[in-house]
């Protein structure tokens, strides 16, 4: 028996010296297999309170309300943020809300274009550019641009992304500063991001703000959520999956919506299908952390 325990102990100590490439391989497989065989594992998604708050806040908006959607992410964070961008746009268009997109990251310009294009190509909504949405171009400056939008949007933007003068776009009439919007939704992966929108615009001008952000930003954004400065938050891929599911159920529950095309079926978003891979990888990470700690503890005891 003692020999068995010693063998297990030695095995666990040796496990701590495992070549990290085996860990990479296992993590890779734990992500790859659920993605290739999605039917094998189906883990249910439970809606968290913060995602529900975001949904409720956007659901309160009325036809014709103006929402500024800020794109602050790029190709590297697209898997986390993009599904929530599409879900948020679907939710807004289903309510007849006027959407104004603004990229504050260079790549945000492309992400905004892709998100809008995805919604337009789905043909689910009867939407037209300059009638239901306007895409503003990228401007360098980060928080200075946010401040500019807060005080005088026209001093920074005179044209949309297609070089059409804003004064010639009917839905831009009466839109001069952040307080002319009924809501701001921020999709961020860093700086400038939701903290800058709180500090430089929404707090001072009392405009409601919600955010969807990368997982890594959540712990820094939570104090703003707790204080009500940000109304709910979509936290990374799980947040995106939860929001997708809520929007999916909501769109399917609508009976005769004049903004939606009845001949097109609502399809669930991409984040939902990714959550099994995410969960399996996390379980594996937890196992590695526990084994690593046991190995380290045993090694330290042996050294003593």
């Amino acid at each position: 028996m003692t020999k068995l325990f010693t063998n297990i102990k030695n095995y666990l100590i040796d496990l701590g010296k495992l070549d990290r490439r085996y860990i990479f391989l296992l993590i890779g497989l734990s992500v790859l297999i659920p993605l290739m065989k999605p039917n094998w594992i189906n883990i249910p998604i439970k809606t968290t309170n913060n995602s529900q708050i975001v949904f409720n806040e956007l659901n309160k908006l009325n036809e014709g309300d103006r929402v500024l959607v800020s794109f602050e992410y790029g190709a590297s964070t697209k898997p986390e943020i993009h599904p929530m961008s599409v879900a948020v746009l679907q939710h807004l268009f289903s309510k007849g809300v006027k959407v104004y997109t603004v990229p504050l990251w260079p790549e945000g310009l492309m992400m905004a274009k892709y998100a809008i294009q995805e919604v337009v190509d789905s043909k689910l909504f009867n939407i037209k550019e300059h009638v239901d949405y306007v895409s503003l171009p990228y401007k360098a400056g980060g928080e200075i641009i946010i401040r500019g939008i807060a005080t005088d949007l026209r001093s920074i933007f005179t044209q949309d992304v297609n070089n059409i003068l804003l004064k010639e776009i009917p839905m831009m009439k009466g839109v001069n500063r952040v307080s002319d919007f009924d809501f701001v939704f921020d999709l961020s992966a860093g700086v400038p991001g939701n903290a800058e929108w709180v500090q430089f615009a929404c707090d001072e001008y009392k405009v409601p703000l919600s955010s969807g952000c990368t997982s890594i930003m959540v712990t820094d954004a939570i104090p703003y959520v707790e204080s009500g400065q940000i109304r709910g938050i979509l936290a990374g891929m799980p947040g995106a999956a939860e929001y997708e599911q809520m929007v999916f159920k909501y769109l399917n529950s609508l009976d005769k919506n004049k903004y939606m095309n009845p001949d097109i079926a609502v399809v669930p978003g991409k984040a939902t299908s990714r959550m099994s891979a995410q969960s399996i990888a996390h379980v594996l990470m937890v196992v590695f952390i526990i084994l690593g700690n046991i190995s380290y503890y045993l090694l330290r005891r042996r050294a003593e």
């Binding site: 070549d19 490439r21 990479f24 993590i27 890779g28 992500v31 790859l32 993605l35 290739m36 590297s76 964070t77 697209k78 898997p79 986390e80 260079p106 790549e107 310009l109 171009p137 990228y138 401007k139 360098a140 400056g141 928080e143 401040r147 920074i156 005179t158 044209q159 003068l165 804003l166 004064k167 709180v198 500090q199 430089f200 707090d203 001072e204 990368t214 997982s215 890594i216 930003m217 959540v218 712990t219 104090p223 703003y224 707790e226 204080s227 009500g228 400065q229 936290a235 990374g236 891929m237 799980p238 991409k270 990714r274 891979a277 995410q278 990888a281 996390h282 990470m285």
Partner: protein, 240 residues
């Protein structure tokens, strides 16, 4: 056709970056340099044509640029400050760039001071108070936040040695900080796995016949080249 070329480039660059897991190699190096070059080029181009050209030159030469702005001579100052910034490249006149940097630092410090005071300090102090009119659960939550804020602040108070009561409060602050770091680490892992999922999804998608089996073909070619390269260079093992 162009889409297909794009797909093969995506697969090649993704697998080149992943090849670093095996060890440093020419594929990884090439992908890294392409990424840095393309990013710098993209940011420069988009910043010039979307911001400097319409917002600066559009005000100095409104008829020529046609961005919808009217003539404003005061924009000569940002132009001069911008040119000064380029003198960083000159050893003789690099002092001029300090004027531009001083302007940016001063302006941002002033702006940040106000917004930080308003949004981060005053509002956060207000939200750290205990609302006694709430439910038992919310009061309990508020108390945890209050204890966490105070003990966390005490931990960063260095004017007195952390002994006695101060040491105990500071210790509680450490526990709160450790919970915060643990949560941050968990979220960081989640974020990184999400990125991996995004890459894998595209690699799986591009394995299909309509893309001429881009992923398996590229992977096979890369393995053969890296294998041959490692074999030829076997006296110098790959850096792990």
């Amino acid at each position: 056709m162009y889409e297909l070329i794009g797909v093969w480039c995506v697969v090649l660059l993704t697998l080149s970056i992943f090849s670093y897991l095996y060890g440093d190699n020419p594929f990884y190096k090439a992908a890294e340099h392409i990424f840095v070059g393309v990013s710098a080029g993209y940011v420069f181009t988009i910043t010039f044509w979307d911001t400097i050209w319409p917002n600066l030159f559009g005000r100095l030469f409104p008829k020529y640029v046609g961005a919808g702005f009217s003539f404003d001579i005061t924009y000569i100052f940002p132009l001069i400050l911008g040119v000064f910034m380029l003198f960083r490249l000159s050893k003789k006149y690099d002092w001029l760039s300090r004027i531009s940097i001083a302007y940016i630092v001063g302006m941002m410090a002033g702006l940040k001071f106000y917004v930080f005071l308003n949004s981060n300090l005053l509002t956060q102090i207000k939200s750290s108070t205990v609302n006694l009119s709430g439910t038992y659960f919310s009061i309990f939550n508020d108390l945890i936040i209050l204890v966490g804020v105070i003990s966390g602040l005490v931990y960063f108070f260095f004017s007195k040695e952390h002994t006695g009561a101060l040491g105990k409060i500071s210790r509680i602050g450490v526990y709160f900080l450790m919970i915060k770091f643990g949560a941050s680490f968990g979220f960081a892992v989640m974020g990184r796995i999400s990125l991996l999922i995004g890459r894998f999804e595209e690699l799986i998608e591009f394995s299909k016949p309509e893309y001429y089996y881009s992923t398996p073909v590229t992977l096979l070619i890369m393995i053969m080249i890296i294998g041959y390269w490692a074999y030829k260079d076997n006296t110098k093992p790959l850096e792990k």
